[in-house]
Symmetry: C2
Subunit: 383 residues, 2 copies
Amino acid sequence: MTLGALDTPALVVDLDVVRANVAAMADLARERGVALRPHAKTHKLPQVARLQLDAGAVGLTVAKLGEAEVFADAGVEDLLIAYPLVGEPKLGRLVALARRVPRLAVAVDSAEVAEGISRALEAVGGGLSVGVRIEVDTGMRRLGLAPASEQLVALARTVAALPALRLEGVMTHEGQAYQSDGEAELARAAAEACDLMVASAEAIRAAGIDCPVVSMGSTATARFAAGHPGVTEIRPGTYVFNDRSQLAHGSARDGDLAAAVVATVVSRPSPEVACVDAGAKALTSDRMIVRDAAADYGAVAPGAAGWAAVGATARAAGWPVARASEEHGLIAVPPGGELAVGERLALVPNHICPAVNLFDAVTVVAGGRVVDRWPVAARGRMT
Amino acid sequence: MTLGALDTPALVVDLDVVRANVAAMADLARERGVALRPHAKTHKLPQVARLQLDAGAVGLTVAKLGEAEVFADAGVEDLLIAYPLVGEPKLGRLVALARRVPRLAVAVDSAEVAEGISRALEAVGGGLSVGVRIEVDTGMRRLGLAPASEQLVALARTVAALPALRLEGVMTHEGQAYQSDGEAELARAAAEACDLMVASAEAIRAAGIDCPVVSMGSTATARFAAGHPGVTEIRPGTYVFNDRSQLAHGSARDGDLAAAVVATVVSRPSPEVACVDAGAKALTSDRMIVRDAAADYGAVAPGAAGWAAVGATARAAGWPVARASEEHGLIAVPPGGELAVGERLALVPNHICPAVNLFDAVTVVAGGRVVDRWPVAARGRMT
């Protein structure tokens, strides 16, 4: 593909950086002796999943049955659906998945969800079963049971007794750590969440129930959780591409940015503003996942990465997307800043995961050249 | 389709309400003697476009070439691409569209964009041309030229002189009106924008240049703009479905809500919170388009509409989606409020247009029954 043929906005992935990010996280997990089960919602790409598995990931985490189906189709044999599955359509699809995925697990945080899943599996007979991770709320206040609580032990007992469920352990998404300010506070938040999870597993074990897995999930805390005694698994997702929030949390440096939305300047309505053809429909309206985040929509990528391969200039590095509507991104141009209609910019989203979900395909660059175009196979899987 | 077969989250469209909304806006335009050119980015559905055209719309507005291509494929013969088209891939596609769409127009706000378009059309010969609307900034500070300015008249002169362009008039998106508080302030903001546009057209006419069209665009201002002397066209989009922002601005009442995201309660982590399976990946992270908007993600639909047809309960009417992550919506449950795992809720997004863009298909209800499923044909058209 020639450069001129690439239309904007385009989601561009630098495969060299992806490979380095995948290797670095795999090395961390290997060195610290924990299993790595990346959350595939960030990339939604079988090609990237393959890189992760080849580097040593034990399997994938997904958020939706529809994502699990896409990765099962791609041959992935170990999948955790980290979401409570409710309702007949989903339970029917779970049964079909359980027949063809060698190692399949689900997350639950209530007896009724666990019982529904077990009943659906029992109904088809043949000894079909799935693994179960009980979700614990270590501070995000989203879903999950209180750490080391009576309710948690009771649910573990229920799950262990259900015929079609195998209790594997406990899991959490310690997203509250993204409210930390600075490395020390982040390390403290990660350690606190890990301690709560280890205590949760021990409470279950003290009741005479096997609970081998203690699973933590977030890119920002991965480097702390991987070394924490008693933690057995990490589930980072964003590390594969990184984004502006990860830069802010020190979990990525500029050179670790592997994805950007490449956009074209379409208007210079004033010296202070450049309008590009990527707005909230390309970047999302997500704020940075940072305490007291600024109300902007992303920023021009710092420095030159693979984006030069698709004609993006580095002259606007760091300028923020100060405002946006669906199709318009308004770049704040500093005094004296130059930028002409027709120039291309690489924009780093605040949060890469939902941005990937907006694109039907990604443009892949490697070695400074466009090398491929991948359909975002697991995009838009709502159910 | 049976009720139990509908999986969630699902975007559900009540066709009875759509028909009423389409008829009401068509009646308004007819009574006030203005052309109606709805913005199709809200629905992205050829089926809804057909209803709008059958009710008297002169054509459609779209934001992207890709959207124009979808509606051209569906037989729409009058399209305005309300966006500056920059770069060779887009200009090539514009030429192809100009060959097959009887009435095609584009928006420009600079000579370089206008000249690029004219050159591309001239290059293929045969007298191919497109209409042009010059974009004026009436206060949104997004793109567009200053109202009635020398630059505006100069660009009109440039466009009028370019061989493959036909100057049709001026257009604006008066989105700044969404910052108004209350009906009187909204009416004033609309009138001010209309006055600026009429003055802009008159400045162009005073230079001896034809400028027949004065086009205003927003649902909230449509009822004021349609009666404003000198305004010839309105381009509302959201009115067809409506959303929480339109309710807040008085441009829709509860009974005018024609689309909702139907979700299932998957967890009751505490008495104050119900977690549903629709988060920012279904509702977007858009705030309400309202001054000092609350940082929430939508609310349970007020009262019963067609959502009962897909099993949504009305018992949680009005409760806000107080927090959300990609796959989790956290409903704030008032004291004593009841809601069980497995119950379905109809959620009204703050901003329906980008929410529609997240779904591959909509479930259509009419007469209290599920009657169809429509692919969102113009979804995800990034370029």
